[in-house]
């Protein structure tokens, strides 16, 4: 038993069960929908996964620090629209400059969020609920109700979404999907091995302890928000490539999909635990559900919201009830606690409450 515990962490069990759930969902939809298990389905789902994943990776960075960014949808729309207009006005802009503009603009918007959260000490939910409205409002005003259309975009940009890197069997791996995978891998390595990554976990697990331990909590939270903004900017560019026609309501409501992906992917909404792989799996789960429901004949696509809502609730409840127990089981044997204290025997005490009573 102990050797198993040493090899597998509770979080991995969580991710493994999600993977199992995705496979089950795919098999189920495969029996219900004609021609479901085809390369076309995979491509459709992956092209939606790519965008959500990039934003979800940024969101995970923020959520790990016990904060949240609800403005991601507005940031993605803002960057997509802004870069789209730049290309419309000047076809000669270099591709990398375009990406740089999107990422830079996103980072700037993220820095506003992060500055307010980390340095002005305004709760994250308030700041980002506010900027969700502000960024969108500024975009609508700045646009003058015009739209970006595919016809006015440079040729290479429109064809970028069909660029194939390599094929696995019949399935083509598009450039966009590859970028998303690179983002996941890079940030997974980053949060696992870099000092910055470990600080994110430390702050999310216990902000006060992190500060006492000398971690520059404010700067770290600010950087997390800047990175989240930058990744939203990148996703904005990908959004522009995928859709071409960008209106001022582009990516509106995306924050819900992203937060859902992150929560379903096992990133604790109270910070301190979660991985990029989990966020990726969450994004795959949600995109699969989304696509499959539109294809399913027997129930309407309008079931998406209700299903997604129950999924979020299920994920949060599972985290709170099952994962917490598992973690205690793991911790107890590892530390060889022969006589657990009264504090540890009450499994329902939430993290904060424990902190308060220890004060």
């Amino acid at each position: 038993m102990n050797t198993i515990k040493r090899l597998i962490r509770p979080e991995q069990i969580r991710e493994f069960s999600l993977l199992l759930l995705i496979i089950l969902a795919v098999l189920f939809f495969g029996t219900q929908v004609e021609n479901f298990l085809s390369s076309r389905t995979v491509e459709r789902v992956l092209s939606s996964v790519a965008i959500i994943t990039v934003v979800a990776v940024g969101q995970t960075l923020v959520v790990l620090t016990r904060n949240i960014d609800l403005s991601v949808g507005s940031m993605v729309g803002f960057c997509a629209y802004f870069v789209g207009t730049q290309f419309t006005q000047n076809q000669a802009i270099e591709p990398l400059v375009g990406v740089g503009m999107a990422v830079g603009l996103g980072a700037l918007l993220g820095a506003i969020n992060g500055g307010l959260v980390a340095y002005a000490r305004v709760p994250a939910i308030i700041v980002t609920l506010g900027t969700l409205a502000i960024y969108r409002g500024v975009l609508v005003e700045f646009s003058g109700a015009k739209t970006v259309t595919t016809a006015n975009l440079p040729e290479w940009l429109v064809s970028l979404q069909r660029v194939n890197l390599f094929s696995v069997g019949e399935i083509d791996i598009r450039l966009m999907v590859f970028i998303a995978l690179v983002v996941v891998v890079v940030f997974q390595i980053g949060i696992q091995f870099l000092q910055f990554g470990r600080r994110l976990y430390a702050i999310g697990s216990n902000p006060d302890a992190a500060r006492v331990a000398g971690i520059p909590a404010r700067r770290t939270v600010l950087i997390a928000y800047v990175l989240c903004g930058a990744l939203s900017g990148l996703a904005g560019f990908m959004f522009l490539v995928r859709y071409g026609d960008i209106t001022t309501v582009a990516a509106q409501g995306m924050e819900l999909d992203v937060v859902a992906a992150v929560v379903v992917g096992g990133v604790n909404i109270f910070g301190g635990s979660g991985t990029m792989i989990g966020a990726l799996l969450g994004a795959i789960m949600i995109s699969t559900l989304d696509y499959s429901l539109t294809r399913l004949e027997s129930i309407s696509e309008f079931w998406k919201g209700a299903l997604l809502g129950s999924f979020i609730l299920l994920a949060v409840a599972a985290d709170a009830v099952i994962l917490a127990r598992l973690r205690q089981l793991w911790a107890r044997t590892e530390l060889k606690l022969t006589t657990p204290t009264a504090d540890e025997l009450t499994p329902d005490t939430p993290k904060e409450a424990r902190h308060v009573s220890g004060d």
Binding site: I68, L116, A120, R121, V122, P123, I125, I126, V127, L129, G130, T131, L132, A133, I134, R136, G137, V138, V140, E141, L256, V259, A260, V263, I269, F270, S300, F302, W303, K304, G305, A306, L307, L308, G309, S310, F311, I312, L313, V316, A317, A320, V321, D348, P350, A353, V356, S357
Partner: protein, 340 residues
């Protein structure tokens, strides 16, 4: 915030409260509006002012309780949409409207109880649970009506939403005034109100003091669900039609109204009077901006900015106070430290 200031003893500081600041802002807004537009002082404009956002201000009263209690309810707008759609669907299939209304309100209560169960009894964070509710209940609304719209309600129902019934007051306005007065009494003059504050201040301490924390939280979320359902019906009556996206995004405005009213997002402090003032400010601001032809998006942006400022300003005030206190302490201790 108000507590921190009340703790200092200088008598004039009793006036240095968030509510006073709100009152000043309110008066300034009204004066600017009068100067900007001649139609502003028209009594019809005032009734309109409330009537146009009647559902939001009704919800703000209940949201005040929930946020003071240290929780948040992001699902209210979706519950509004869901109950309105349930009523619309039932009415469409030939059920009498009265029964549809009862079922819709019951659905709201059930939705509130469902959220309350997970938050109060399982102990999940209300942010996550009601976010799931925001997505899920909206989903139910869409299942009910898909992309259709249902209208042609009986005349009495639409009259209830649109026409004045007592003097120049509409049904919604009377409902709001009653709810506000009841809320004022319950929050500030009854044991239940004290429990709400106690739990918001320190849940652990409230448990040890014998407060039935779970029951209080459960009650609040059920009431929130019921009021949201009623507000959903009200908006259906006012527009004369329901759709899947009825009341989409209302939660932002409601939370803004409450927080601008000086209610702490961490719970435990704030007053319903402050929320009443902030409602007046926001309504007048929006009205003033509409009168000078500012678009809805800029208005939403301004409200978003207000939301951030409503927390930022007290924060700065508190930090300033803290610095001042430290400096005073340092000068008081200075002679001793040099001697030692």
């Amino acid at each position: 915030m108000s507590q921190a200031i009340n703790a200092t003893r200088a008598p004039f500081r009793r006036w240095l409260r968030w509510e006073t600041l709100l009152l000043v802002i309110f008066i300034v807004t009204v004066m600017v509006n009068i100067a900007q537009s001649p139609v502003y002082l028209n009594p019809n404009n005032f009734i309109n002012l409330f009537q146009l956002s009647i559902e939001k201000i009704i919800l703000a009263v209940v949201m005040t309780f929930i946020i003071i209690n240290g929780e948040i309810d992001l699902s209210i707008a979706s519950i509004m949409g869901m109950s309105a759609c349930i009523m619309g669907r039932l009415y469409e299939s030939g059920v009498p409207l009265e029964i549809g209304i009862i079922v819709a309100v019951a659905a709201g209560a059930l939705a509130g109880a469902f959220s309350g169960f997970w938050i109060a009894y399982v102990g999940l964070p209300s942010l996550a649970v009601t976010l799931a509710g925001l997505v899920g209940y909206r989903g139910v609304a869409r299942i009910m009506l898909e992309d259709r719209s249902i209208g042609d309600f009986p005349v009495w129902f639409e009259t209830l939403g649109q026409q004045p019934i007592v003097g120049s007051l509409t049904f919604g306005l009377i409902l709001f005034i009653m709810l506000f007065i009841v809320g004022l009494i319950v929050l500030h003059r009854t044991p239940f109100g004290r429990y709400v504050y106690a739990i918001g201040n320190n849940k652990q301490a409230a448990v040890f003091a014998g407060v039935r924390v779970r029951r209080v939280k459960m009650t609040l979320f059920i009431v929130s669900g019921i009021v949201a359902a009623v507000a959903g019906l009200l908006i259906a009556a006012r527009f004369g039609a329901v759709r899947g996206n009825t009341a989409d995004g209302f939660e932002l405005d409601v939370v803004t109204m409450v927080l601008l009213g000086g209610v702490s997002i961490f719970g435990g402090s704030g007053t319903l009077v402050g929320v009443g003032l902030s409602i007046l400010i926001i309504l007048n601001l929006r009205n003033g901006m509409s009168l000078v032809n500012t678009t809805g998006n800029i208005q939403t942006s301004v409200i978003g900015m207000l939301l951030i400022l409503s927390v930022l300003l007290p924060n700065w005030a508190r930090i300033g106070q803290e610095l001042l206190r430290r400096q005073r302490l340092r000068t008081a201790l200075a002679p001793h430290t040099t001697q030692g």
